[in-house]
């Protein structure tokens, strides 16, 4: 081991003699490792942020939207049909595994508080909806089933709406706001959820009881028709089974013939998550490909420079052999030089990658997650590249004939 340690010291000294050459040789590995670490860190950060966004929608949520409708050949978009009703959703409560149901209808309207006003989404919802979506309250309280039943004029403010209608530090609970010139009593302010997966501000919303929305604000063409229904499942494993059951029950209730398409759409979060996972998986594969290519190129660079070095130092190798170096000593010396080059490149790359990721997150505000695993893997791999690409030049050096090597000019 003593010999190995001394060989490492000698390798550092030899490489130190050609600083520029060594640095350029390491560059391939540095760039490869650095890029991979920076990209993986940023990618992991983005993935975690997306997962947090998905989670912010609520867990195990199934959404049912009214379908498109064809009127004289003109098809409306989702929600064009008015056929999805409160009664439909209430029926779905009977499906095993469904723990909570809720529904909602929304419209965009102007909201006024004293001299301030704000254009926002008014969402008429049930208490169950608020539970399913996992909203929590920072001050005041949710509205109750009783308020819902009597279509009380009460409102819950999303955080963004609160900020736009009230002064900071003001307590809005008990205040009166006007929607369509109808006064509503503010009963609570909701905790911020941030942006959703599509980048919309989830907190730019006012929640009022569904019944109030239907009867006093939005009106309806068809009593009990809703904008969207929400179910929450007990566990993620039950989701797909519940979705099938929902489809069966709704088709039956809407008296659809087997040839007719669904007049509703069922979505669940697992589908959204799957799309996200697919994206991040192909991203990871792409990163791996980039990393392998840059490490390959870096390795070839090391091999190339070592071959040059073996030629330049032919006579030195001859001298070393004459004074008693065995073939394995020469082999080890060049192999160690290759590994020192690639491992140092890897180390510098790790440093630059971490620095780059930190800089990116500071400058652009991207979240980054730097995992120790990826640092170790990247470093280990770069060292392995040194062994692999150092083997050929080292072997070539060790096979020189000492007599010819000594005569080499």
């Amino acid at each position: 081991m003593n010999f190995l340690l001394m060989t490492v010291l000698v390798a550092f000294r030899v490489l130190g003699r050609h600083r520029m050459r060594s640095a350029l040789t390491m560059l391939g590995i540095i760039i490869g490792v650095g890029a991979v670490i920076a990209m993986v860190s940023i990618g992991e950060g983005a993935k975690a942020a997306v997962q947090a966004q998905i989670a912010s929608f609520g867990t195990n949520v199934i959404i049912i939207l009214p379908g498109a409708m064809t009127v004289s050949g003109v098809r409306t978009g989702h929600g064009g049909a008015v056929t999805l009703t409160v009664a439909d959703i209430e029926e779905l409560k009977k499906i095993p595994g469904v723990t909570e149901i809720g529904w909602a209808r929304r419209d965009a309207m102007q909201v006024v508080h004293e001299r301030k006003n704000w254009f926002t989404t008014i969402n008429g919802v049930t208490p169950g909806y608020l539970t399913i979506r996992g909203w929590s309250i920072v001050s005041g309280d949710f509205f109750t089933q009783t308020e819902m039943d009597k279509a009380a004029k009460v409102a819950l403010l999303g955080n963004s709406v609160f900020k736009n209608l009230f002064e900071p530090g003001e307590d809005p609970v008990g205040a009166t706001i006007r929607i369509k010139n109808i006064p509503f009593k503010v009963v609570g302010v909701l905790d911020a959820k941030g942006y959703d997966t599509r980048g919309a501000d989830q907190d730019d919303v006012v929640f009022i009881p569904f019944t109030t929305a239907e009867r006093k604000i939005m009106g309806t063409k068809f009593l009990g028709s809703i904008g969207a229904g929400f179910l929450s499942a007990e566990s993620p494993e039950q989701m797909s089974q519940i979705v099938e059951e929902v489809k069966r029950i709704l088709r039956q209730r809407h008296k659809l013939r087997p040839t007719q398409e669904d007049d509703f759409t069922v979505r669940n979060q697992i589908d959204i998550a799957k799309v996200q996972e697919g994206t991040s998986e192909s991203m990871t594969l792409l990163l791996l490909a980039v990393a392998s290519i840059s490490l390959l190129v870096g390795g070839i660079g090391i091999m190339n420079i070592l071959l040059v070095s073996v030629t330049e130092r032919t006579r030195e190798i001859g001298i070393r052999m004459a004074v008693g170096a065995k073939r394995r000593h020469i082999l080890l010396q060049f192999l160690v030089e290759a590994v020192v080059l690639s491992a140092m490149g890897g180390l510098i790359g790790v440093g630059l990658g971490v620095g780059g990721a930190k800089t990116a997150s500071n400058l652009a505000g991207w979240p980054t997650i730097i995992s120790g695993d990826i640092l170790l893997i990247a470093f280990g791999f770069s060292a392995l590249v040194g062994v692999f690409f150092g083997l050929y030049p080292a072997n070539k050096a060790s096979r020189l004939n000492p007599i010819e090597a000594l005569r080499y000019e």
Partner: protein
């Protein structure tokens, strides 16, 4: 027991289709403590003989016995071990490793004997002292004169306490003043008991040796002591001036 015994040494090189007979049956004995010069024109086979004596090469046929061991059939690793323990080389062009201090150059053979690094330094310094260059231990070859470089090379040859020092045209690249110094150093080492085999084509350099072997066309032409007496009845004799 003789230090070196060569019997019917033959070395044939193949250059493509052609066979070059570098040695055509060389037999000789060298005793421990001798100072032998091997002379001959280029192509006489003296370099080939030197390579075989130095265990850098093996003969095509014949035997080479070094301190009672037949080394003509050994593998590369065993030959490397013999080089590192029994033989010290001094070359015409010094063959020091560039941009490496004198001390480290002298340490090199110890490195491959895998001697602990602390002992290496002390041993190398001692060898440099023997050639009078202890004060130049931190100098690189380029900072030393030719004579000094050759003395560093001699220190490197000495450091493993070898049985033989093989000097191949050691003064070929030196002026007469430096040549004299180097030959005096070698003579001094020989007095201290080290066997020295000198390869040269200069008669005055060969004159330092107590025995001269002339080679031509791969065979020994003559083998005489300094007084001109054919070897075989070698009588102890003081070195000449």
């Amino acid at each position: 027991m003789s230090l070196i015994v060569l019997r019917d040494l033959v070395k044939i090189y193949r250059l493509g289709e052609m066979e070059v007979h570098a040695l055509r049956g060389v037999s000789l004995k060298i005793e421990a403590g001798e100072f032998v010069a091997i002379m001959g024109a280029s192509g006489s086979g003296k370099s080939t003989l030197m390579n075989i004596l130095g265990c850098l090469d093996v003969p095509t046929s014949g035997t080479y016995t070094l301190e009672g061991t037949d080394v003509s059939t050994l593998g590369e690793n065993r030959l490397a071990e013999i080089r590192s323990s029994k033989i010290g080389f001094v070359f015409q062009n010094f063959n020091l490793i560039p941009r490496t201090t004198a001390l480290e150059n002298v340490q090199l053979p110890l490195f491959y004997k895998e001697i602990p690094s602390r002992d290496q330094k002390a041993m190398a310094l001692q060898a440099l002292e023997r050639v009078g260059l202890a004060d130049r231990q931190r100098h690189h070859p380029a900072q030393l004169s030719g004579g000094q470089q050759q003395r560093v090379a001699i220190a490197r040859a000495l450091v493993t306490n070898p049985s033989i020092i093989l000097a191949d045209e050691p003064t070929g690249n030196l002026d007469s003043q430096a040549s004299r110094e180097i030959m005096d150093t070698l003579t001094q080492l020989n007095r201290e008991g080290i066997t020295i085999i000198l390869i040269t084509h200069e008669a005055d350099i060969a004159g330092y040796a107590r025995r001269t072997i002339m080679m031509k066309d791969g065979v020994i032409l003559s083998d005489r002591d300094a007084g001109g007496v054919a070897v075989g009845r070698l009588v102890p004799q003081e070195t000449r001036a």
